[in-house]
């Protein structure tokens, strides 16, 4: 048996097992857990216990049933009553959400029929990313928007043409990365993303960048940036 030699490290990995079983760890953490499980039989046995708990928690929740139609009727009666009292005003035309909505409907298959469509997708994607980044003054940022542009560890990335707004958001979320700048004045729809709020060692940045590069559905090109 080749158990993890450092007990604190093992404890840290063990604490992540429930999220590993549920599939909600970042790629980086999931890889760490997988490596530890491969070399530690006792940890693997404990992981089996976690999986058992997960299965029974799902089973238990699935036996809880569903609410009756009464709940929905009550909800929409309340909404109707509110609207009758004070109808809400339509929000002004929101380009960001409309473009995002359009992009979310574009699938790789739909786009594959011509290069023109692919170019259009890149332009739409750029518009979405711009919409994410350009915020009104005084309004807190949305997902993936960094508050500071200069601190931390960075990479430049070109997103794959077929990546949807959801893909990009999920990708950034999984790596706890934030979009800070772009498109950069380097051509090719490059964006600067922040990998960490602290300055990481070069080899750590290289490892993250290699992992991100493997996400070919979302990432077309990526490189570390000083």
């Amino acid at each position: 048996m080749n158990a993890i030699s450092k007990e604190p490290e093992r404890h840290e990995i063990e604490a992540l097992l429930p999220w590993h079983a549920a599939g909600t760890l970042s790629r980086r953490d999931a890889d760490r857990v997988e490596q530890a499980l491969a070399g530690d039989r006792e940890l693997a046995r404990r992981y089996d216990l976690v999986r058992e708990e997960l299965a029974e928690t799902i089973h238990l929740n699935e036996t809880l049933g569903a609410p009756s139609a009464r709940a929905m009727e009550k909800l929409f009666a309340a909404i109707d009553a509110e609207e009758a009292r004070a109808p809400r005003r339509q929000r002004p035309f929101d380009l960001g959400s409309r473009v995002s909505e359009l992009l979310s409907k574009l699938t790789p298959r739909a786009l594959a029929w011509s290069a023109t469509a692919a170019v259009a997708a890149i332009l739409v994607q750029a518009a979405v990313i711009a919409a994410v980044m350009v915020k009104e003054p005084g309004i807190p940022g949305g997902p993936g928007l960094a508050s500071a542009l200069s601190e931390g560890s960075f990479a430049v990335v070109r997103f794959a043409p077929q990546a949807t707004a959801n893909d990009i958001t999920n990708f950034l979320g999984a790596y706890k990365a934030t979009l800070v700048e772009g498109p950069l004045n380097m051509g090719g729809q490059l964006y600067r993303i922040r990998l960490s709020e602290t300055k990481l060692p070069k080899d750590e940045i290289g490892k993250i960048v290699r992992q991100m590069q493997s996400e070919s559905k979302v990432v077309g090109f990526i490189a570390a940036k000083e």
């Binding site: 909600t24 760890l25 569903a66 009550k74 909800l75 929409f76 109808p87 995002s100 949305g142 997902p143």
Partner: protein, 186 residues
């Protein structure tokens, strides 16, 4: 077919689109209901609460900024509503209910039969956990929330999320041991 994203639905709801509200309700009402019913242990109360949760979504959609996913945002609202409802109950009522769910070690015929079924016993012990421990186990295992998302819903630091999950699992192991199932952990 690609589904309309939750964020797009929220944008439409903010503009008063009832159909978008119906779609969002259809997508999440069962999960939100189960989360709430596990907290309040009363289906009728849970039904009332989910109406309130979705009414809040309708009212606050225009202020949703996308800092978290829509489901995380809704579960945080649901948790707040459930805790408020629990506070309105008589003190101690839930603790007695919790204790009666698991602590009786007597081997009546029914329990003896359940001992043969480890899965059923794990589920029984999951029911017997405290509200705090049930909540975190459900969020992680059933609602598939990450460490960060649980922290946001429950309002505690990420390290506390991991610690609380560890102690919830430890308590589950203790309940199983008391029920005659030794798992060799912790």
């Amino acid at each position: 077919m690609q589904l309309t994203s939750d964020e797009v639905l929220i944008g439409r709801i903010a503009n008063g689109d009832r159909l978008a509200m119906q779609v969002l309700y259809a997508r999440y009402h069962v999960r939100v209901f189960r989360f709430v019913v596990r907290m309040v242990r009363d289906e009728a109360v849970a039904e009332d609460l989910i109406s309130e949760v979705f009414l809040d979504v309708w009212r606050q959609a225009g202020r949703f900024e996308g800092r978290s996913t829509v489901s995380t945002w809704m579960l945080a609202i649901a948790r707040f509503k459930a805790l408020s409802a629990l506070r309105r109950r008589l003190d101690g009522e839930l603790d007695e209910e919790t204790a009666s769910a698991i602590e009786d070690p007597t081997d009546d015929p029914e329990i003896a039969l359940e001992k043969k079924d480890k899965s059923a016993m794990i589920r029984k012990c999951l029911v017997g956990l405290s509200a705090e421990h049930r909540e975190i186990i459900d969020l992680v295992y059933y609602h598939e929330k990450s460490v960060g998302e649980v922290a946001e819903i429950v309002g505690i630091p990420e390290n506390t999320v991991k610690t609380r999950m560890f102690y919830a699992r430890k308590r589950l192991a203790e309940l199983l041991k008391a029920a005659g199932i030794e798992r060799g952990w912790p």
